[in-house]
Each structure stands twice: as C-alpha cells, then as structure tokens.
Amino acid sequence: MLVYLGKFDLWNSLDDAIPMVENINIIGGIAGGILIGLAASFLLAGIGRIAGISGIVGGLLATCAKNEITWRGLFVIGLVSGAIIYRLISGNLPIQMQASGWQLLFAGLLVGIGTNLGAGCTSGHGICGIASCSKRSITATITFIFVAILTVFIMRHVFE
C-alpha cells in the first residue's frame, strides 16, 4: 500500500511538472507520440498488422471470420482500456466539443465515408503509412490535413 501511494505521488508530481500552457502540451505531446509510435511498431512486429484505426474498425463491419473479429475487437477494447488506465492514474481529461450536435453527426458520417474510401485515417496513413514511406499515405495525409485546416478556417474565420 505504501509503495503504491509512493508511486501515485510520484506520478502526481510529474504531472504537475508538465507545462500545461494553454496552447501547447510539450511533454504530453512527445510522450503520447512515443507511446503511439511504439504501439504501432509492436502491432506490426507482433501480428504483422497496420495500426490504422479506421481499417481495424472497418474490418469489424466487413468480416465474420472469427480470428479477424478477435484481434480487431480486442484492439478497439484496448483503446478504451488505455483511456480507463489514464483516468485511474491521472484523473479525467477534458473532452471539449467545438461542434454542435448536428455538425458532429454530419462530421462523423464524413469521417466514416472518407476514411473508408481513402483507406486510412490519421493513424493508418499519417503514422503507419508515412513510417512505411508510402506515397499514397503521404499524399493522403497532406490532403486531409490541408482540407481540415481549410475547413476550420472557413468555419471559424469566414462564417463566424
């Protein structure tokens, strides 16, 4: 118990040390990126699959093969488990929405159609694809980041 408390305090003091400046989280960003890079690498080394979330989830909708459902389902459950572990250690993280209800539903539909049609999202193209030096992924990543920047610009600075 004492050891556990000790660890807990250490984590909290580390957490306090993280610069929580309004517009950048340096340590969180770097540490989180490293975790994501490791997760993608371990999945490739372990079971030979690409850690593209839209592909993994899309596969759940497309297949009935039991072993496919198993690893994909467990990966998705793992994502939520990671969030639960974070909450247990570090407390709740704010999830501040910027869009209204109907906008979120429409955006969700576009994200679903777009990632399926374009065969990848931020993780599949943006991390695994670029790490594989794939021309398709580099093109897709530049395209969706550019379009997303344009979308935010129009919504925030043109129509507001």
Binding site: N23, I47, Y86, G101, F106, V111, T122, I127
Partner: protein, 140 residues
C-alpha cells in the same frame, strides 16, 4: 492467444498515448488546425515523435521474414494514387476539421460515455458501412 493479447496490449498502449497527448480532446486538435487563430502545435509534436519511433522500427521490422505471433505480414498492396484515395482524404479532412475528432480519438473518447461522442462514433460507423456498400456495388 498471443495474437489476441498483443492486439489488446497494443490497443491499450495506443489509447494511453492518445490520452497522454490529449488528442482525445477536440479542442487540442482544432487548435492545431486553426492556423489563423492561436495555434496549438501539440498535434504536430505527437505526429513527429510517433514517426521518430515508427520510421526506424518499421523498416527494421519489415526486414524480418515474419511477425512474432503470425505467419505473415498483412500490408497494404495498393501503390497507385487514385481518385478514391483523394476523394476519401478530402471528405475525411472536412469531417475531421468540423469535429476535431478522427477515428482513434473518437473511439478512445467513448470512455466518457458522452452522448456527443457516441453519436459521432455511430455516424462514423454508418459512414464506413455506406462507403463499403457503395464500393462493393461499383467494383461488381
């Protein structure tokens, strides 16, 4: 069994990373995309540090003949930049910019049990399904 456990642990690590980096918070993501506002470079840091790890490891892993717990690698085979890739990336970009959520963070954020996240993920799954049906019809 090992395959299942690997998938679960990698998912957990990935989800943890999305939390540590605050990428499950749409405000952080939109802060990065809003280049004309008060710019938030956190997302860039996440991508760069993930790539610093994944680039060398991926090229190392791909030199192996097979993964640890599976017979072979299952890698994307397409190399051509086609209309579907570009159209998909454009539609995804619009949705991502509107909500500040992409598939990984959206699913991870289900932990909040918020109606908005559940609605977004449901719409996303519907979108994926619609796209699959449409592509099946075209490819037939």
């Amino acid at each position: 069994m090992k395959k299942a456990l690997t998938a679960y642990l990698c998912g957990t690590l990935f989800g943890l990373g999305l939390n540590v980096s605050e990428m499950i918070n749409p405000t952080r993501v939109i802060g990065f995309l809003d280049v004309a506002g008060v710019w938030d470079p956190t997302l860039l840091l996440v991508m760069v540090s993930a790539l610093v790890i994944a680039l060398p490891l991926f090229s190392l892993i791909k030199q192996c003949t097979q993964p640890f717990f599976s017979d072979h690698f299952m890698l994307p085979t397409k190399t051509r930049i086609d209309l579907r890739l570009i159209t998909g990336a454009i539609l995804f970009g619009i949705g991502w910019g509107m909500a500040g959520l992409c598939p990984g963070p959206a699913i991870t954020a289900l932990v909040s049990l918020s109606v908005e996240i559940i609605g977004f993920v449901t719409a996303m799954l519907l979108g994926m399904w619609l796209s699959m049906q449409w592509q099946k019809r075209i490819d037939r």
